[in-house]
Amino acid sequence: MRAVLLRLLMLLPVLAGTAPVKAQTYKLKPVGSAEGLTNSFVHALAQDATGRLWIGTGEGAGRFDGRRVTMFTTADSLAENFVSSIHPAKDGSVWFGHSEGGISIYNDGVFRKARTGDITSSSINAIIDDGSGGFWAAAQNNGIIHISADGTCRSGITMEGVLWFSLLPLNDGLLLAGASDGLHLLQVSADGTLTFIGNLSNVSRSPVHALVTRPGSKRIWAGTGDEGIISFTMAGRSPTGITQIGEKAGLGGLQVRDLAIGAYGQLIVGTFGHGAYEMDLEGDSIKSLLHYGLENGLGSDNVGAVLLDSENNLWFARFGLGLARLLDRAVVYYAAEGAAAEDVRAITFQGNNVWFGIHGAILHARNNDMRQLDTLGRPIGVPSEDITALAVHDDGRLCAGTATAGAFQQDATGHFRAIPIGRDRMSLQVHALAVHGDETWIGTSNGVYVVSPKQTRHLTTENGLLHNEVNALFKDAQGRMWVACNNGGVSMVSGDEVKSFTLTEQGNAFHVSGITQDSVGTIWFSTNGNGVRYLKDDMVMGLGAAQGLRSDYCYAIAADGHGSIWTCHRGGASRIDRATLRVRTYDRQFGIEPDRRMNAVATGTDGNVWFGSDKGLLRYATGRDIRSSLPPTAMITAVKVSGRDMPPTGPIVLPPDDYRIQFDFLGTSLGDPDGVHYRYKLEGHDLEWTETAQSSAYYMRIADGNYVMLVQAAMADGDFTGNTARLQLIVRAPIWKRPWFITVCIILWLFTVYIIIRLRERGQRRMRELLKRKLDERTHELQRKKMELEEKNKDITDSITYARRIQQAILPQAEELGTQLPGAFVFYRPRDIVSGDFYWFRRFGNKLILACADCTGHGVPGAFMSMIGSMLLREVSVEKKVNSPDVLLTNLDKELRTVLRYQGEDQHNHDGMDISLCEIDLSTKHLRASAAMHDLFILSKGKLRRERGSRQSIGGALGDGAIQAFSMIEAPLEAGDRVYLFSDGMPDQFGGPHSKKLKVSGLFTWIEETASLPMAEQSEQLRLRFNAWMGDQEQVDDVLLIGIEV
């Protein structure tokens, strides 16, 4: 019975009558004058290492960064305006072949011209790497030429009448060249010369405009001028397995202009006259074939170049219409003819059959072939209503739900019959259908009707549903039926059991719009206002706009066969990766127009996701959604320094100042330029990266320093794992901050110090030399003077020595005193040769007058004074017969002042003498003594006493006419008594252990201690003591000590 029914269903197209033709369309985004492309004839396409697209036109080369095309012409140093070929070299440079034989090279932002000279004059149709840093180029009329990396050209090989179009390097130094007469095999020798091996005429005799090979494959595809695509393999130097691709599919006569290999090995073909093809090949058989042409969205059948970029975007160079990018290679639109038929609200699958509901009809595609659709319409009972739900039984019977007329189901003849459910208005509003065995589940505004051949059940809130407005029904892998309720949550029906999950957020119940189950059994819900929820361990988890959904308002949900959950929004869809929960959104960039209403979504058996919209059907071939995981290449495109444009290519060096700096950067995404995000950091200024969706960064007041601008780019759902664009910026330090300046200053300072030191040294040396010279002069002078002095000294000394003799001659002899007074001694030690101290004695009868004098000064002056004193003593005592010591001193004083007054001009001189003078009556041993500034010791009766003289000197500074009187000391002596007279030489002598003066008291002690000794011994003892006392000290004065014993 079921087989019969199926056969009947196969006849449905006949029963249904007219089958409207549906057009499969692709959405393309043109790149033309609006984007800056100034010429609509594109001859070549290539993507450079930065991800930017280079476009070769008849009026210059364009560079497309995803948003804008920047055109370059001869004004930018392009060799020619007509660009016939483009080759992105491995070193990052881009090579351009021109129509009149010129070759341009773009590197680091500037163009230069290859030195083609007279070698080429015709179109450079192809350029390839030679594997050694150079390039081979096919010059149409000039053969194959070689260009070294520095742009120097040399001829390779040429043939009369042969035009060269394409090149493909092979192993073993072989080179395949496509020419006007087919394929030529060439050999590159070790020295770089090119030799002709043979014409592969068995491959094709047609012009070969393109040659490609799939990475890892030995198969080669040649795109010919009128024989389509020829596939072959080179076995050594011979082609084998020569096959014309797609001959049976009518592709044998294609005028192929370009070939490209897709990300998963598919062959992309650009033709003149037949648009472009994308073919999956299994061997040389076409496994699947997509055609892009004039009628299905490409807008042209002339495609001069094709390119599949690194993001898997497919580009077409539409001849005369500019460039176009297939918005999403996975997206295919099926737009129905007639506006009323475009609003697709329901989709269902069974095997390779797909049905979708439009107003008043159900369209059926068999074997997923959308090119011819069967229409099930009014003739077989489909009501003139919006078909809002579809489901199909295992036996092929189709069920349809309508917006206001209830549900219908095909009978054995294929006609649609109303399913008997409630006839109230709410029950006739069908929102969802599902089949479960022989049961038909109908979701309405009045709960769920479960209709089976045996019975009809009506599930409402009374049975446990959360709400009677049922938006969706879903039978999970466990056979449970899930019911999406409009206001409250979901219910799960298993047998007679109804289990409900209330979904609320902040007290508001969810409006659940759809249910699906992923490959691991997780149940997912779409909600109208609360995003997507899923059950995990009886917990309800969710994602919303905050997690990346395009909107919180989701109208349908489905799991595809590739691990993703899809949900629909107005104007777009969101795709959730089940494993990572990462969300990717799809909207205009992917061909979904912003105002497009997404009604329904379903997954086919092939895993493709189908969306119903108000403008037809959209199929998303998830398997074709192969996107590059590589992040965009980041570039710094412009730098503006305080309003002035600077080249963004190299280090920017600025003079010292504070600058406002704007960096413009770009992460090229040819497919989704709005999805590029950036992060940047100005090293030397920023500590952290700054993330932004803007493509500019501004810095104010950048002062001196070394900076490096770092920029990275990533897609919105990606990480910053790509390259880092760098731009060095140097703001020079003021001169006084610069190391060299500091170094120079230090060096100058050190040099200055050095110079100063050297100058000082030189000055000192000069000074030393001067001093030395002066010293020498002085020394010489001194020596001279010394000699003179020595001479004079000698003379003086001689004189003084002679004077001593005179002085000694004048002074009485000590021995003579001994005769007068036995035992008397005179300790007389002049400090110099001659002495200022002198002694004098004279006997007058029984009286002996003895004087001990110390004249002012010592040495020669003292000697003179002593002589004067001695002479005056003589004169006073002898000639004036004065015999009283005190009178004698008075007279001596008077005479001395008289003598000195007459002899000196100085009226106030202090020259004079201290003297002690005694008179001893030898008979009576009576002592009379008088002293001027002298004391004398008298040892009488064994006791030594000190007798003080007058406290004025002889001479000195008395006024005119003044007479000094001196006291008289009288003492009766006895035999053995001793008298000691002395000058101040001995008491004033420094010495002893403390270098002190001996003083009169010291002398007194000495004499007292030695008083018991005989006079001679006492004299000797005193001499020894004095010598010992003086030690190494200089003698400070003339020393005179007289001792007498009566």
Partner: protein
């Protein structure tokens, strides 16, 4: 043979008419077909060098793809002239780019030297292939920028060379420069010209064919040269100053030349060379070659639509007072 600005000015003035210029031959020429014989043919059959070059001009403002369509490119069927079984292969090649017309060899009558100068844009051999008999074949699309930029010719120039590679049959064909591959939709502002015309005459003696050499302001006199006229009537020149001066016509497999003085009124206008067949119509399948040089020996271009329009004789009438 560099055209000067008056030609450009004239082209600009004539531009409204030029959409009609892209059929080659044009309607005003009333020439049924161009003709190129196979390389092994006899010159006595009417083709002196088995090669014909035509130039097509597109304005620089053109933004649509350019197609050059060939009608009946094969050498087979009722249109073409068989000399025994059809065995002729004709090559059609289209050139653009540098040297396409600026190379002197490209502007000469003989296919020698670098007459195939420029970038080859398309080429195809046609033999006896019924597939293309009485059908159009479109070369292209071509980027207008692919032509050689020649402002003095009014835009970018493409060169079409039809050359008999082998065989001895006569290939008769037409051209049309179109913006569509499958229809004759003229390129706006486009034009076509040649320096040596090889064409088939009507068999009907009532039909008069015309070609229109352009006389620039430097011309003092011209020398017309024709080949293999076969004595098929007369060749006359009509201009603003010439009422129909007969020129020396050639016989079978012969060249004939004659001088024509050019008067001031004829400067910057086209001459109308009229090929008037014998009234008896005895000569059939007559092919003829024609070119014109000025006093310097430079070839004059034949525009398919005459620059300045088809010249009309303007007689000088002396008016005397009636007595």
């Amino acid at each position: 043979m560099k055209l000067t600005h008056p030609l450009l000015l004239a082209l600009m003035v004539a531009s409204p008419l030029l959409s009609a210029a892209q059929p080659v031959p044009a309607a005003v020429e009333n020439i049924p077909y161009l003709v190129t014989f196979g390389a092994n043919s006899r010159t006595s059959w009417g083709d002196d060098d088995f090669c014909q070059t035509f130039f097509f001009v597109v304005p620089k403002t053109t933004t649509v793809p350019v197609y050059i369509r060939v009608y009946d490119p094969d050498c087979y069927g009722a249109i073409d002239e068989a000399k025994g079984p059809f065995d002729t292969v004709t090559n059609f090649s289209i050139y653009g780019g540098k040297g396409c017309i600026s190379d002197p060899a490209a502007r000469e009558t003989e296919p020698v030297g670098n007459f195939r100068s420029g970038n080859l844009l398309a080429t195809r051999d046609f033999g006896a292939d019924a597939k293309y008999d009485k059908q159009w074949y479109a070369f292209g699309p071509f980027d207008p920028s692919s032509g050689e930029d020649m402002p003095e010719y009014g835009g970018r120039v493409f060169k079409m060379i039809a050359q008999g590679k082998s065989g001895d049959d006569g290939n008769l064909y037409r051209y049309f420069m179109s913006s569509k591959p499958d229809a004759n939709e003229a390129i706006e502002g486009g034009n076509a010209f040649t320096f040596e015309y090889s064409f088939r005459l009507h068999d009907d003696p009532a039909e008069v064919s015309h070609i229109y050499p352009y006389v620039d302001e430097r011309v003092i006199s011209v020398k017309q040269t024709n080949f293999d006229w076969d004595g098929d009537g007369s060749i006359r020149v009509v201009s603003v100053a010439k009422k129909g001066d007969q020129v020396l016509a050639s016989g079978d497999d012969q060249w004939a030349s004659s001088m024509l003085p050019i008067v001031k009124q004829e400067l910057n206008t086209s001459l109308d060379i009229r090929f008037i067949k014998r009234p008896d119509g005895a000569i059939k399948n007559n092919n003829v070659v024609f070119y014109v040089r000025n006093q310097y020996g430079a070839l004059l271009p034949f525009f398919t639509v005459p620059i300045g329009g088809v010249p009309q004789y303007k007689p000088t009438i002396a008016i005397s007072k009636l007595r």
